[in-house]
């Protein structure tokens, strides 16, 4: 009964537009005070502080800052020029360039909206000028940007790893194969559309142009290779890798490309602060909710209720997928992770699902959630840049959402796909 009241209260507060971070804190506080009296207030204040000191989450502001710094320079334009020189000669090449660059670049700053705005502002007008329909251009941009959240460095994975007490580095490694698989599926889909609608090729393949574009983009290309190589190779931790990413992004923007002025730097820093604190406030108040839920044993009771229905791993995963897909339609990614992870983790452990495997499933569900209205900020941003209405873009997007769903199903039911690289590297 108490649990039902907490959940109903939380959704009521969210529906009247109380910020989700505060809504979580309010229901937790009311529940704790109802159970233990006003003494719980002091415990809540202490937990608000402790919840914000989760060490692995230090990677979040640092990756956000690195991404914001990169977003202020011409890195995206250089990457686009390189990928265009590489695959632009294929029919429908510009849509494939969109997928390729998005996978490399998107979600890098922690703000999906800022990243899609950065890439879409260049690619969508270019696609429209080349005769692509605005709704198709917006759909490709939006869905490929969402797929990118399973490719490291991924902020949802850092958040999940910290909340589920799971290795962030292993989550990063687990995301590689599903990310590439989804990316190649999207490239194939673009080619199919290109043949069907006779979409144009860009300039013919020219080794000289490819080499020049490569030289222009070399820093942008090697930055993730060095940072992720350092993290995967055990040279630095995920947090330290994020710190190095800041130094590298600052060096590339300010020294190599000479594009970083004080106004842009200040704007990038301010944006980094906002993105970080929005996520971290959710984390901090969810620690208070987590404390309360543990006291009333809600996660354990939920796990038991589901286990009474079925203890089949794949059936449980199907139920969780359905829940996450619905939640993803109504909640932003960070909020969905923060609400769902503490509640379902006991179930995940009891059924014997690998937490790394579940982390990738969760992240893929959130990627699909970014594409499904009413809450679909990535989709809305793409629509806004393309000046196309959301429903016509959604119609064009159905096939791309299909690719995301296909990737989700394959990853859910063939755990070897996300876990094979993890097992190979870490045994």
């Amino acid at each position: 009964m108490t649990a039902a009241l907490v959940i109903a209260g939380l959704f009521a507060l969210i529906l009247i537009n109380v910020p989700i971070g505060v809504a979580i804190g309010v229901v937790a506080l009311l529940g704790m005070v109802a159970d233990r009296g006003t003494i719980a207030l002091y415990n809540a204040a202490l937990t608000l502080f402790d919840g914000a000191t989760n060490f692995p989450l230090i990677a979040i502001p640092l990756f956000i800052l690195a991404g914001a710094l990169m977003n202020t320079s011409s890195i995206s334009r250089r990457l686009i020029a390189f990928v265009t020189a590489l695959i632009g000669f294929i029919r429908g090449g510009l849509s494939m360039v969109n997928v390729g660059v998005s996978l490399f670049f998107a979600e890098i700053s922690g703000s999906a909206v800022a990243d899609v705005a950065a890439l879409g502002s260049v690619l969508i007008p270019a696609m429209k000028r080349r005769g692509y329909s605005p709704s198709f251009a917006a759909a490709v941009t939006s869905s490929s940007a969402s797929l990118a959240i399973i490719i490291p460095p991924s902020l949802p994975m850092i958040l999940y790893g910290a909340l589920a007490d799971t290795s962030i580095v292993r989550l990063f490694v687990a995301g590689i194969v599903p990310g590439l698989m989804g990316g190649f599926s999207m490239l194939l889909l673009c080619y199919w559309f290109a043949v069907r609608y006779d979409l144009p090729r860009e300039e013919g393949f020219d080794l000289g142009r490819l080499w020049r574009a490569f030289k222009e983009a070399i820093w942008a290309l090697f930055l993730p290779v060095i940072i992720l190589g350092g993290i995967f190779g055990g040279v630095v931790t995920a947090t330290e890798g994020a710190g190095l990413a800041v130094v590298a992004a600052l060096f590339i923007s300010a020294v190599v490309y000479r594009e970083l002025d004080w106004a842009r730097l200040r704007a990038a820093l301010a944006e980094g602060v906002v993105q970080t604190s929005v996520v971290m406030l959710l984390v901090a108040t969810s620690a208070v909710l987590g404390l309360y839920l543990t006291e009333i044993e809600l996660p354990q009771r939920l796990a038991q209720a589901i286990l009474n229905l079925t203890d089949n791993r794949f059936a449980v995963l199907a139920l969780l997928n359905a829940l996450l897909l619905v939640l993803g339609m109504f909640l932003h990614g960070a909020a969905a992770i923060i609400l769902i992870v503490p509640i379902v983790m006991p179930l995940i452990h009891q059924v014997g699902i690998d937490p790394i495997h579940f982390g990738i499933i969760l992240t893929l569900n959130l990627a699909i959630g970014q594409q499904t209205p009413p809450v679909a900020s990535v989709l809305v941003t793409s629509c806004s840049i393309a000046k196309a209405d959301i429903w016509s873009v959604t119609k064009s997007n159905i096939a791309f959402i299909g690719v995301l769903l296909f990737t989700l199903i394959v990853v859910t039911y063939i755990p070897a796909i996300p876990l094979s690289l993890v097992n190979l590297f870490y045994g």
């Binding site: 989450l57 995206s76 334009r77 800041v246 906002v274």
Partner: protein, 186 residues
Amino acid sequence: MTALLRRLLERLLEAISIALLLGLAVVVVLAVVMRYSGSSPVWYDEVASVQLAWLTYFGAAYAALKRAHLGFPGVVLKCGPRLRPVFFVLGESIVIGFLVVMAWAGWVVLGVMAGESLVSVPWLGLQVTQSVIPVGCALFVLAQLLSAPDAWRRMRAGVDPEGAAIDEAIRHARETPAGRRPEDGA
């Protein structure tokens, strides 16, 4: 007067939050350098964690001033012009009420922590590190109050805050070297 106060608070919170973010980056990079030079700093984990908490709460007040916290405005926007103000006032009251209670509880807790300090940095008292809860919550309340008039006007006009944020992100992207379109000129 409200606009001036708001601008001052924005500058103050921006300066503090950016300093905290840069400080965090410096500490992490310094720790890597020290680790590879053979003298891992013992204070690293504890100090960086406290910096993160400070960044969280000063940044949260800054984000509140910009009304950037994640919400779900869809239902309220769909309500009629009579119901919308009711939900607005109710929502604002709940936010402020929660933060006032947490600021008070955080202040009381500080009294219990007298004489205690960080394990790795004994000269830094817990009263100082934990003061971010009452201070941060109070600043959040102030930010919420100072940004309320603008938020009220937008709510009355039925402006979707998410749509406004998206427009801002697109405008910002078009101002960067990557986002400038040929027709925009150099």
